[in-house]
């Protein structure tokens, strides 16, 4: 097999992925804008348009016909306006994002979080995330989908999930008031609970946590003469914009050497984007790929959100969610990064170097948990 053939194969896969995405767009548009199945929000939205989405949206590029998605639309009720009529009788979850002050953004969910995390499960190596082993979910729960999603991931893999909660809204308030001692005390309260669980004979092998909590956990254990490997943990799943190449290198070289750690990028609205394997040879570069065709990440121009930047160029992250439960076209995220080319395992565009969007960064408190 020649490289050219490989290259041709890969091109074919990229084209195939694109065809699947266009098909998904058509299916989702038909679903959400059909009076029998769609949700009240989009049906009402369509009633005010002078064009018919079901006729004019035939592929992903046609989603540009929608005006920019306003995140304000997600704030406040009634929440059922987002529930597709076809799912009206199903049990509905609501997940929130933001909300330290004011009304948080809400997203309804039925099974999406389970589907997303089952897909993610396929990317986890069994060697480090052994099937049947128990997990610790150390991070924010409350109105977020994270706790339920991680718990489902654990259960899907045959384990039982232990949980320790952290309320990031409270932490942000403490930080804004400059109450650093209280932030520390609260963090230690969370870590103490985790250490108690890890030492309680539950055979916990897998951990979800955030970079900040992982650091705090590792240091606390070391102060007690132990370490994360000594607790029996072999695989860690984590996420957030703090997951920089430098932080990852530090984690792999010093904090948790020998333990498998996988970065992810996601939020309540989109789902979960997986990372290309992170290696020292690649400078610990972290490139994320959305679970296409259920969701898409684009890197778009800061000045023109409908223009995708060139590969390697910097732009703002724009997310599109395309599931039967939830449709969001072109949501401009609070993050920026560089556009990455399709990759063997994920033959569609990705994003690397994700960090808070420079124009919003000064007003945003990140990495609190």
């Amino acid at each position: 097999m020649t490289i050219e053939t490989n290259s041709k194969d890969f091109s074919t896969r990229v084209e195939e992925a694109r065809r699947k995405l266009d098909a998904q767009v058509r299916e989702i548009i038909d679903w959400h804008f059909d009076p029998r199945t769609g949700c009240p929000f989009w049906l009402e939205f369509a009633s005010k348009l002078d064009w018919d989405p079901r006729k004019e949206v035939q592929g992903f590029d046609d989603l540009k016909k929608f005006p920019p998605f306003q995140d304000e639309w997600l704030r406040g009720g009634p929440v059922r306006r987002w529930v597709p009529k076809a799912y009206a009788d199903k049990p509905v979850y609501v997940f929130e994002t933001g909300g330290t002050t004011g009304i948080p953004k809400s997203r309804i969910a039925i099974d999406d979080f389970r589907i997303d995390y089952e897909l993610f499960s396929d990317t986890l190596p069994d060697q480090y995330f052994p099937r049947g082993s128990n997990w610790l979910m150390l991070g924010p729960s409350g109105p977020r989908r994270l706790r339920l999603a991680v718990e489902h991931l654990c259960q899907f893999r045959g384990g039982v999930c232990f949980c320790v909660d952290l309320d990031p809204r409270w932490v942000i308030k403490l930080i804004k008031k400059g109450l650093t001692d209280e932030v520390e005390a609260y963090k230690q309260h969370v870590i103490d609970q985790a250490i108690t669980l890890l030492g309680a004979g539950h055979d916990i092998r897998c951990l979800f946590t955030t970079p900040k909590l992982l650091e705090a956990l590792a240091l606390s254990l070391e102060r007690r003469g132990s370490s994360i490997p000594e607790t029996g943990i072999t695989g860690i799943f984590s996420g957030g914009t703090e997951f920089t190449p430098q932080w990852t290198r530090y984690a792999m070289e010093e904090l948790i050497p020998g333990i498998y750690i996988t970065p992810t990028y996601g939020n309540t609205l989109m789902g979960l984007a997986c990372s290309k394997p992170v290696t020292p040879e690649d400078g610990y570069k972290i490139a994320y790929y959305a679970p296409q065709p259920r969701a898409v990440i684009e890197v778009v121009s800061f000045d023109d959100p409908d223009r995708v930047v060139e590969y390697g160029e910097t732009g703002r992250a724009r997310l599109t969610t395309l599931t039967k439960e939830f449709f969001i076209p072109g949501f401009l995220e609070r993050d920026e990064g560089e556009r990455e080319p399709p990759y063997e395992k994920y033959p569609w565009d990705g994003i690397s170097g994700v960090r808070p969007f420079r124009k919003l960064a000064a007003a945003t408190t990140v990495g609190v948990y």
Binding site: G178, E215, E222, T244, P245, R249, Y250, E254, L255
Partner: protein, 478 residues
């Protein structure tokens, strides 16, 4: 271009996260500085005890002698800088190029640091009030009068969150090493030069590498230094001062609001003092917290303001390598414009007069930087909102205020030069809690006596006098 690594207790560590420091006029990158993630420090601080112990193995007198040698190396030697080297001239050029301070001022600051290092023995003797430094090493000893004294170090390493804009402040942390306390330095983003050059000079002079750590980074790194070090000195604006006020672990250095007060007994001869007033306002480009930002008197204030405006108003920006340059550039984009807008708004108030307006526009905007030419403002009352304001350029308000109200109305004042021979006024000034450094007589606010403490005695900040009792014979035997 230089590549400057993090120094983890002396060991270079090149981060994947790097920031360029650039020439403020040309945009040329001068160095690529490794940026630390906070976790590095959180782990490394566990070795702070080793830093202190490595210093305690060297007698304090030897360390003091090393300071003298380090001073010479810092001021005169070519020293390692990242993956290259740096001569004193290169240091001054690079510091000027990234901070906006004229080169000759950078050189003057080098001499200031050299002076402090070369007289370290006298400075320590003054700050410790003649204490045998061995007492700090051992934690206790016997005074000449036969009493056991004990000083307990409050930290193994002092954290320093350093500014970008005022190279003069480095004198404050130089006595730390001979007191056998380690250093955790977080440089200002535009001024990595002094911490690295000083560390290189210390190493060459024989200070153990593991005694000094340097962690460049953003605001989160500064917060981490404060979090993990038991004692930290931090520089910042009023919000930083407010944030750490009353925190015994933190010594915060903010705006100085330094002032010259003319007593009623001297004010009629105000012309005799106009030179020291002008020097206090504009030397070192008015950047320091010790520069005078307010002149207070009960009469003649408009004449004083007019005379100051005549002297300072014509000063113009010059190239940073011009030995006659008196103004530093604002290198942060938009900073000069924002300051000018704030001043312009305050100048609208009734009773406020802009005395330098006749000397041309004050705001000078260049392609990559901005300048503010000196501003003298007259206030007919201390009630004017601009009356007690400080900016980082030669800016001064001349405020009319009765002498018997001055002390209460000047507010917190880092340096107060009171030109008076009125004994009652003098005593009131000596007793005033809102004045830190007090100069009585015609002494410029910028004239520092290094044998005296600055914003708190660093010995008191790092060591606690406490009781320690043992049989006298045993204490004497040690």
């Amino acid at each position: 271009m230089l590549n400057i690594p993090i120094l983890r207790w002396g060991q270079p560590y090149t981060s994947l996260d790097q920031e360029e420091v650039i020439h403020f006029e040309t945009g040329e990158p001068l160095a690529r500085v490794s940026q630390a993630n906070t976790g590095l420090l959180a782990r490394d601080i566990r070795a702070a005890k080793r830093a202190r112990n490595s210093l305690r193995e060297i007698p304090a007198k030897e360390l003091t002698a090393m300071m003298k040698k380090a001073g010479e190396l810092y001021a005169r030697g070519t020293l390692p800088m990242g993956d290259g080297t740096q001569s004193p001239d290169e240091f001054a050029r690079q510091q000027s190029a990234t901070t906006g301070l004229p080169e000759h001022m950078c050189k003057a600051n080098m001499e200031k640091n050299l002076f402090v290092l070369s007289r370290m023995d006298e400075i320590l003797d003054a700050l410790t009030r003649g204490l045998d430094l061995e007492i700090l090493t051992r934690g206790y000893g016997i005074e000449e009068r036969g009493v056991i004294v004990s000083y307990q170090a409050q930290t193994d390493a002092l954290g320093m969150v350093l500014p970008s804009n005022s190279p003069g402040v480095h004198t404050l942390w130089l006595p730390v090493i001979p007191m056998q306390i380690g250093l955790v330095l977080k440089p200002g983003p535009q001024e990595p030069w002094t911490p690295y050059r000083m560390a290189a000079a210390f190493y060459e002079a024989g200070v153990p590498r593991e005694a000094i750590a340097v962690y460049p980074g953003g605001g989160e790194m500064g917060a981490e230094v404060v979090r993990v070090c038991d004692r930290t000195m931090i520089f910042g604006g009023l919000p930083t001062v407010e944030r750490y006020r009353g925190n015994p672990r933190v010594q915060v250095h903010g705006p100085g609001f330094s002032k010259i007060l003319l007593g009623d007994d001297c004010v009629d001869e105000w012309e005799n003092y106009i030179d020291i007033i002008a020097d206090s306002v504009y030397l070192n480009s008015g950047r320091g917290c010790i520069n005078c930002s307010g002149v207070w008197a009960s009469r003649h204030t408009r004449e004083i303001a007019g005379a100051l405006a005549e002297r300072l108003g014509p000063i113009e920006p010059k190239s940073p390598d011009d030995p006659e340059a008196k103004l530093a550039a604002f290198t942060v984009p938009g900073a000069a414009q924002a300051i000018w807008r704030a001043i312009e708004a305050d100048l609208q108030e009734s009773g406020v007069e802009h005395m330098t307006s006749a000397f041309g526009p004050r705001l000078v905007v260049k392609e990559r930087c901005g300048y503010l030419r000196p501003i003298v403002v007259h206030c007919d009352s201390s009630d004017r909102s601009i009356a007690n304001t400080e900016y980082m350029f030669p800016f001064v308000t001349v405020v009319s205020c009765p002498q018997d109200e001055m002390i209460e109305r000047i507010g917190p004042t880092l340096v107060c030069s009171a030109i008076t021979s009125d004994k009652a006024f003098e005593q009131a000034l000596i007793d005033a809690h809102n004045i830190d450094r007090l100069n009585i007589g015609d002494i410029p606010t910028i004239h520092l006596n290094w044998l005296q403490p600055h914003e708190g005695n660093i010995v008191d900040f790092l060591f606690r006098a406490r009781s320690l009792q043992m049989p006298p014979a045993r204490a004497a035997a040690d």
